[in-house]
């Protein structure tokens, strides 16, 4: 236990120096330019900012998929000349139920519906996306479990992409957008203390469609005629307008959208540009329907319904409809970023203003400083020279902790600061164990050298056992905890690892070197 080879000594000292170097950028700012220095990130609770946990509405995703499937089913049944038939969407069971009116058409209907099937995945993992079975109630066309998972995955991935684009448009610096679990998205916005605008931007699906107005239908009728829906007008609450269900052009075919002012009226508008497909379709529709009104529908509300005066072939258009500068800009942002596949709901929100974060940092730093002084004075008073060696090891422990947290680019939270402080208190436990043990061995009549040797060896197993249990408890906290509490678990677990190193390596090396240099007749224990 007492012999340190040159190589090992160099390794221990090297680790300490490296620890100090790597932790420096956190203390004095970036040191040298070109080097890949890493620093600890401050959590939102310390630097100020907003944390939003959003949930993707999977019910809406499935419902939309089923509606698409129903359209396909109708077309397939039409082609197979199956009529009459009934078709019901059973969203809760993730399926459609089709029942041909004539039982003799059961088999052809089954065959027609089977044409809808495609496969998800490739090779051996490939599975059909639909489960088509004949039941006593009719033919059930269900989405398979694999297809549901795939669909949900796509929806979350796509939502993350759209959320990122929308937030980027607002100019927030360094947003962090990550997936959490099956259907959730975490949005972290440093420096944003009032996330209201972001929440508004993310709260809209922003699905824009161009549909034709049906002038013959009466919007006050109790039930719309087939193929027509009654949609509310965005700027006239309570009023509805009859719109054909068929989507002529979709907002997905936009390439650009900008807020602007109409030079004549000074009114705020949104100017948009279609891609080539959108341009062609829009030209066709406007040519065929010149003189008729069409509706611009956003999230199932009609924002305007102008009359088509002439065919629009240039692929450019303008949306007007009592906008303010802010609402026009927001709509332009939403249209540029694209539509969300499903609505998002904020299920958890935490925002902290920067001054509260600064207060927290100050409180944490004061506590850390005072606690450090307490521990150091205690160790000096109770353990003398070996206590001061432990203190020196403790300083290196702090540096190594900072270094490892920087390398991991861990996030330092308020509870994380508490974790550092507690590590300070717990770290010297290893030194106390060693010192008490050496003292006992001296009392048992061993020579100084022998006492140190035995003391280190006997204390070592105890140190490992006692730290291991704490380590396990905090790993659990990391796995099951969330947010700032995870930061606590990270600092404590990192602290336990560095403590094992500094107490059993650095402190031991220093004590052995001191002994070799002075060869005392008695140990200061």
């Amino acid at each position: 236990m007492l012999y340190f080879s040159r190589f090992k000594t160099a390794l221990i000292l090297g680790a300490c120096v490296l620890g100090v170097l790597l932790s420096l950028p956190n203390l004095i700012g970036p040191v040298a330019g070109g080097l890949p220095w890493r620093t600890i990130r401050l959590g939102l609770d310390l630097r100020g900012g907003s944390y939003l946990l959003m949930e993707v509405d999977m019910g809406a995703v499935i419902k939309e998929r089923l509606e698409g499937l129903a359209d396909g089913a109708r077309r397939a049944l039409e082609r197979a000349a199956i009529r009459p038939y009934t078709l019901a969407i059973q969203a809760a069971d993730h399926r459609l139920l089709v029942k041909p009116g004539n039982p003799a058409q059961q088999e052809p209907a089954l065959a027609a519906l089977r044409t809808l099937q495609t496969t998800e995945g490739q090779g051996l993992g490939a599975r059909p996306d639909l489960d088509i079975t004949a039941t006593p109630d009719g033919i059930a066309v269900g989405l398979s479990a694999a297809a549901l998972i795939e669909r949900a995955n796509q929806a979350v991935q796509q939502s993350i992409e759209i959320v990122r684009r929308r937030i980027d448009e607002t100019g927030v610096v360094d947003p962090i957008i990550t997936r959490q679990g099956q259907d959730r998205i975490v949005v972290q916005l440093p420096g944003i203390e009032d996330p209201d605008r972001i929440k508004q931007l993310l709260g809209k699906t922003a699905r824009m469609t161009f549909q034709l107005v049906d002038a013959n239908a009466d919007p006050s009728a109790p039930v719309p005629p087939p193929g027509v829906e009654f949609l509310p007008l965005a700027d006239k609450p309570g009023q509805k307008i009859a719109v054909r269900k068929r989507v002529e052009v979709d907002g997905a075919n936009l390439t650009d959208a900008r807020a602007g002012q109409n030079p004549q009226t000074g009114e705020w508008v949104v100017n948009f540009t279609f891609d080539s497909l959108g341009t062609r379709r829009f030209a066709d529709v406007t040519r065929a329907n010149t003189g008729h009104p069409f509706a611009i529908v956003l999230d199932n509300k009609v924002i305007s319904a102008p009359v088509i005066r002439e065919p629009i072939t240039g692929g450019r258009g303008q949306i007007s409809g009592s906008f303010t500068a802010a609402s026009a800009t927001d709509l332009a942002v939403l249209l540029r970023a694209g539509a969300l596949p499903a609505p998002l709901t904020v299920v958890e929100e935490r925002s902290v203003g920067p001054e509260l974060g600064a207060d927290a940092i100050r409180a944490g730093a004061i506590s850390l400083g005072v606690g450090f002084v307490f521990v150091i004075v205690f160790m000096g008073a109770f353990y003398g020279l070996f206590g001061w060696i432990a203190n020196l090891a403790l300083v290196f422990n702090l540096f190594l902790m900072l270094a490892i947290l920087s390398l991991l680019q861990a996030t330092l939270t308020l509870p994380g600061m508490a974790g550092i402080l507690l590590t300070l208190g717990m770290a010297v436990d290893a030194n106390i164990l060693i010192n008490e043990r050496i003292r006992e061995e001296v009392k048992n009549g061993r020579t100084p050298l022998n006492a140190m040797e035995t003391g280190f060896r006997r204390a070592y197993a105890t140190i490992v056992d006692s730290n291991m249990t704490a380590f396990l408890a905090h790993v659990m906290l990391f796995i099951f905890g969330s947010g700032p509490v995870r930061g606590f678990a990270v600092t404590i677990t990192v602290g336990i690892v560095t403590t094992l190193f500094t107490a059993t390596m650095v402190a031991r090396l220093l004590m052995v070197r001191w002994y070799a240099a002075t060869r005392p007749a008695a140990l200061p224990v």
Partner: protein
């Protein structure tokens, strides 16, 4: 002055008969823990927003805050605040609202609070908003309890693996008594029980286990050293031998947590007080609870095993 130690908690070679107080220790502990369990059910814990759901907003007003007007402003928005109170400085107000049935409703309420404030206290700024929807709070609670439960289980398995089962059962039984008392402490002090508190309890758990492992380790060592000593004397000897270490480590952790309790700010001072309480409980339970339980469980078995040469204990891990 820097060479020799100046202070010590107890002189060397103490022979305090701790095991004489074993019945008293366990009785006191059992009474405290029972009381704590009662307190847990009535009046119960002050559940924080993490676990109960709801909304907490910290607002800084321009000039001293008029709490009555803030309440009025909220009432105009059709909101009944669960609490409007001054928070630190004269221009700091803390507003609490009950959990809403859905996440959408929670978000709507946050917006209405802002609108209401703008009317009655123009120029006020929301410094902090915490809004937790019902599905998330239920999940956070479940995860917090899972973290506690699985940690206890892992500690049990680890000690079982490294020692004998009597040690593991003794340690975990003591830890359960420690946790119930900590919960009782939370119920009495009305500190908010949230995720940070779960972290505090887990840290107390880790600390307390650490303390027990050190004493147990010495018991195991002495079992091998003194083959004929009665277990009762042996446990007393082990506690006495490790007493300076036990008190020393308690002191350093206590000293490290103390400034946090005093200057740590609202979030951390509750955490730190729980830590301080846990250190005292954890340290005393190592001596007065964990050791007696070991004595009861191992009175015959551990001694016989230690004397039987046929079943050597596993060697300690060599460094």
């Amino acid at each position: 002055m820097f060479m020799r130690p100046r202070l010590r908690f107890v002189p060397d070679g103490t022979r305090i008969r701790f095991m004489r107080g074993r019945f008293l220790g366990i009785a006191v502990s059992a009474v405290l823990s029972t009381l704590s369990v009662i307190l847990f059910f009535y009046p119960g814990l002050n559940l924080g927003i993490d676990f109960a759901g709801g909304i907490v907003m910290e607002v800084r007003t321009q000039g001293p805050a008029d709490l009555a007007r803030v309440r009025e402003g909220l009432a105009q928005q059709g909101l009944r605040a669960a609490g409007v109170q001054r928070f630190g400085a004269a221009d700091d107000v803390l507003i609490r609202l009950e959990a809403q049935p859905t996440a959408q409703a929670t978000q709507a309420v946050v917006n209405r609070v802002r609108a209401g404030l703008d009317q009655v206290q123009p120029g006020s700024r929301v410094l902090r908003t915490d809004a937790v929807g019902p599905s998330v709070s239920a999940e956070l609670y479940r995860n917090g309890m899972l973290a506690l439960g699985i940690s206890l289980l892992m500690i049990l398995v680890y000690i079982w693996f490294r020692f004998e089962w009597q040690f593991a059962v003794g340690a975990v039984a003591t830890l359960l008594l420690d946790i119930t008392k900590t919960v009782g402490f939370l119920a009495v002090t009305r500190f908010e029980f949230d995720l940070v508190m779960v972290a505090a309890i887990l840290t107390v758990l880790g600390y307390s286990t650490n303390d027990k492992v050190v004493v147990y380790d010495r018991v195991r060592e002495n079992l091998r050293k003194f083959k004929s000593m009665p277990l009762r004397d042996l446990i007393d000897l082990s506690i006495n031998e490790t007493l300076n270490r036990t008190l020393g480590t308690s002191a350093t952790v206590f000293l490290a947590a103390l400034p946090l309790a005093l200057f740590g700010g609202t979030t951390l001072s509750g955490f730190a007080w729980v830590m301080l309480f846990g250190i005292v409980v954890g340290t005393s339970s190592s001596i007065f609870i964990a050791a007696p339980i070991l004595l009861f469980l191992g009175e015959h078995r551990l001694r016989r095993e230690a004397q039987a040469p046929a079943r050597p204990k596993p060697a300690k891990a060599a460094p």
